[in-house]
């Protein structure tokens, strides 16, 4: 029972992948679906780069030859490693991660549009992203080679990999001799790309919904992307100007953040977190959306409490702007501010709780299939519960004083970002893979690699909670011997985790290139619009502009009094 007047079955007509050929047609494409693939390609490379830096850190932290000495990499390299890891993972991987890939692909399809509002701007965003990525690479280079090369590199401001941590705290970032300028400038440029993507999506959702696609029929993923886009557009400029000020401080000694020049280093932290707290919701809100799409389809049930789920997303986005200084409880802020920010932080916990409860309730009395996407979604719920509740420890003032800047925080945010956003992204990739590639992947391999990721991930980061409780500070290249056992378990977990990701992505990559099994238009029996067009979709998405007449989630048999509505 399809609710849409337009539906297509797989046929031999050209699709977006093959209607034009050649590398040039890809680099100049304005098709949102192709731009999704461009982004996907780029972010996976950086996921790999960030992952390798993580493994280097974990290798060192295992301290196989004993603590108190350097085993594989020295202190400076280690400091560069966690900076590279954090900055690459955040600015190059997960912030564009879901919105620019799945968001780009699905947004127009889900609302029944032919493209985003500004297709050229969309491509332009990708190029800006690539420019930013290259600039970031300059920030990672070490000047080596013959003397003239070193001179040349020094001349353009390359002085060695950035060693400030991804947070670029002043005054250290103003004083250190490394290529902070390249990295902060890169973050600024990447931010610009992110702004343009967000702006594009907001306009698209406002202006290009298909006839009948009212606000209360929008899939929750679209709502998630919308809330994300608002944050992208409105929070990013603040970090942009903040990082520019750091550059000005380095170049001209403006002094705004430099106590030696009368400035206030804590002001830097305010401005930084004003962006970087909301940014965590840029990462996770689209993942919430993905879970909200997967669970109904594989449970054959409408999403429980659609309105509550949607309001919760919007509330999280808005309240997310009010809580930034919970990262600064011990940074020397006033007591009044600490109390205010602690209390308001709970304002995001409640709507998040609402979402979790609704997802689980959706499964009640469903007919549940355990395909790989569903496994990711269920894994997400467990991991995000751990993530969210450990966030509550950190929001509680008295307790955060102890946990701040320990491995407890490291574990918390890996659970949120990796257990939340990355697992969500993986689930989404598995779920929409048939649509994007027109092929089916190997289901068994999907499940096995899911298991590897899940086990490896928990093995990596559960010990880190314990480390944090024992008081192990973060950004430590060396530590007291009492922490060694837990660190070694964590390293072992990281290896399994890395293996899991690599195999899980290879499974998809293999199927996309060599796969023989063609995907039907709607393999999961979904009701949302993107599945009502062939797999892969044609260049302009739909052969006929769809007209929407019912809910995206009309699964199952109507219960009392509901029949009339559908």
């Amino acid at each position: 029972m399809s609710a849409y007047s337009a539906a297509g079955e797989a046929n031999a007509k050209p699709n977006y992948l093959n209607h034009e050929k050649g590398i040039w047609s890809w680099l100049t494409t304005v098709d949102h679906k192709r731009i999704c693939l461009l982004y996907l390609f780029a972010i996976l490379i950086f996921f790999f780069v960030g992952g390798m830096a993580a493994l280097a850190m974990r290798l060192e932290l295992a301290k196989l030859y004993g603590t108190g000495q350097h085993n594989f990499i020295d202190a400076e390299t280690y400091n560069a490693m966690f900076t590279i890891h954090g900055a690459v993972m955040i600015f190059l991987f997960i912030v564009p991660g879901i919105p620019a890939t799945l968001g780009n692909f699905l947004l127009p399809l889900m609302i029944g549009a032919k493209d985003v509002a500004f297709p050229k701007l969309n491509l332009f965003s990708w190029y800006i992203y690539m420019v930013g990525a290259c600039m970031a690479l300059f920030g990672l280079l070490k000047p080596i080679g013959p003397a003239f090369m070193e001179k040349a590199m020094n001349f353009i401001g390359v002085h060695g990999p950035v060693d400030t941590g991804w947070t670029f705290y002043a005054p250290y970032s103003i004083e250190t001799g490394t290529s902070v300028v390249w990295m902060t400038a890169a973050a600024f440029v990447l931010g610009f790309s992110s702004i343009l993507t967000g702006l594009n999506f907001i306009v698209t959702i406002h202006k290009l919904r298909a006839p009948g696609m009212t606000w209360d029929r929008l899939p929750v993923f679209v709502w998630g992307t919308y809330a994300t886009a608002v944050i992208q557009t409105l929070a990013t400029p603040v970090v942009g100007i903040t990082l520019l000020l750091v550059i000005m401080e380095r170049g001209f000694g403006v002094g705004v953040f430099n106590p030696k020049l009368g400035g206030d280093p804590v002001l830097y932290q305010h401005l930084f977190w004003f962006y970087s707290h909301p940014v965590v919701y840029i990462m996770v809100l689209p993942a919430f959306g993905i879970v909200g799409e997967i669970i109904p389809v594989f449970s054959r049930k409408p999403i429980f409490g659609y309105k509550a789920v949607v309001y919760a997303s919007v509330t999280i986005a808005v309240v997310g702007f009010l809580v930034w200084a919970h990262h600064m409880f011990v940074a020397g802020i006033s007591e009044a501010a600490a109390i205010y920010f602690s209390v308001v932080t709970f304002g995001v916990a409640v709507p998040t709780a609402v979402k979790v409860f609704n997802w689980v309730s959706t499964m009640y009395r469903g007919s549940i299939r355990f395909n790989t996407p569903m496994l990711y979604a269920m894994g997400f719920i467990f991991l995000f519960m751990v993530a969210g509740t450990t966030g509550v420890y950190l929001a509680v003032l008295a307790v955060d004083v102890y946990y701040h800047d320990t491995y407890f925080v490291v574990a918390h945010f890996h659970y949120t970002i990796q257990g939340g956003a990355v697992i969500g992204l993986m689930g989404g990739l598995y779920y929409w893979f048939p649509k994007m590639s027109g092929k089916m992947y190997n289901e068994t391999a999907g499940k096995v690699t899911w298991f590897l990721v899940f086990v490896g991930f928990n093995l990596t980061f559960i010990p880190q909670f314990a480390l944090g409780m024992e008081g192990m500070p973060r950004r430590y290249y060396d530590y007291l011997p009492q922490y060694q056992n837990l660190h070694q378990v964590s390293t072992a977990g990281a290896v399994i985790n890395a293996l899991g990701y690599t195999l899980a992505l290879l499974n998809l990559g293999w199927a996309a290139v060599f796969g023989r099994v063609k995907a039907p238009a709607n393999p999961w029996d979904s009701l949302s619009l993107e599945w009502q067009t062939p797999s892969p979709p044609p260049h302009e998405n739909f052969e006929v502009t769809p007209v929407v007449t019912g809910s995206t989630y009309a699964y199952g048999t109507p219960v009392r009094g509901d029949a009339a509505a559908h």
């Binding site: 290009l208 400029p237 100007i241 000694g253």
Partner: protein, 222 residues
């Protein structure tokens, strides 16, 4: 909307909106405008970081900032304010002309707006060189002397950052308007299609809006 807006590529003539494959013309118009407003929102927050820093140090170093602001010449600032207000006025007139389909008046007003931008930059340039010769620039003798206390440096640091970023926006706005002007001169706009004029003018108004705050903040109250 009537179907006449869906001219196919072959039929596009001067004054007709360009053919866009994925939406109709009124939607394209509304989208472009909303897009520009969103962009302006980001600009407000971009300058917002600077305004916030300025507010904080203005509060903390009230006397010192007040003193330092006396070094700025409020006459230059006032003249520049009038120049920008006037350019904003002509930008609005350009849009009005475009809406009424008067191509000539539209391009004339655009040209005046761009010229005002130039004038603004020239005055700003005179001001900057004046500051330099008065030793109000990093590296000059007065700047390095002990009497030139840290708080003054902070004031002028912020002054250069804020007015510099603003001047950059003036330059970008002039670029945008020049592109619009060239199109206008070729008669590309009509009462059915003038998005670039409106969007360019919106951007220009923002440049004006920022200056409306910068001027009293930096030159008058300090």
């Amino acid at each position: 909307m009537s179907a006449s807006h869906h001219a196919t590529a072959a039929e596009v003539g001067p004054g007709d909106p360009p053919h866009i494959h994925h939406m109709d013309t009124p939607t394209a118009y509304q989208s472009a405008k909303l897009g520009m407003w969103l962009f302006l929102a980001t600009e407000i927050l971009l300058f917002g970081g600077l305004f916030t820093s300025f507010a904080l140090y203005h509060w903390a170093y009230f006397e010192e900032f007040h003193h330092a602001s006396k070094e700025l010449n409020w006459v230059y600032g006032s003249v520049n304010t009038v120049v920008l207000l006037f350019s904003s006025f002509t930008a609005a007139l350009a849009v009005d002309a475009a809406q009424r389909g008067d191509s000539r008046r539209c391009s004339k007003n655009l040209l005046i707006t761009i010229a005002c931008g130039f004038l603004f930059l020239i005055i700003k340039g005179i001001e900057y060189t004046g500051k330099y010769s008065h030793g109000l620039f990093p590296g000059t003798e007065r700047w390095n002397s002990p009497e030139f206390i840290q708080e003054y440096k902070m004031y002028f640091g912020l002054y250069y950052c804020m007015t510099g970023l603003h001047a950059l926006h003036v330059v970008l706005g002039m670029g945008l308007l020049t592109w619009v002007y060239l199109k206008a001169r070729k008669g590309r706009f009509s009462s059915r299609y003038f998005v670039p004029v409106e969007v360019g003018a919106l951007y220009w108004h923002l440049v004006d809006l920022i200056w409306i705050y910068l001027f009293p903040l930096l030159y008058l109250v300090g």
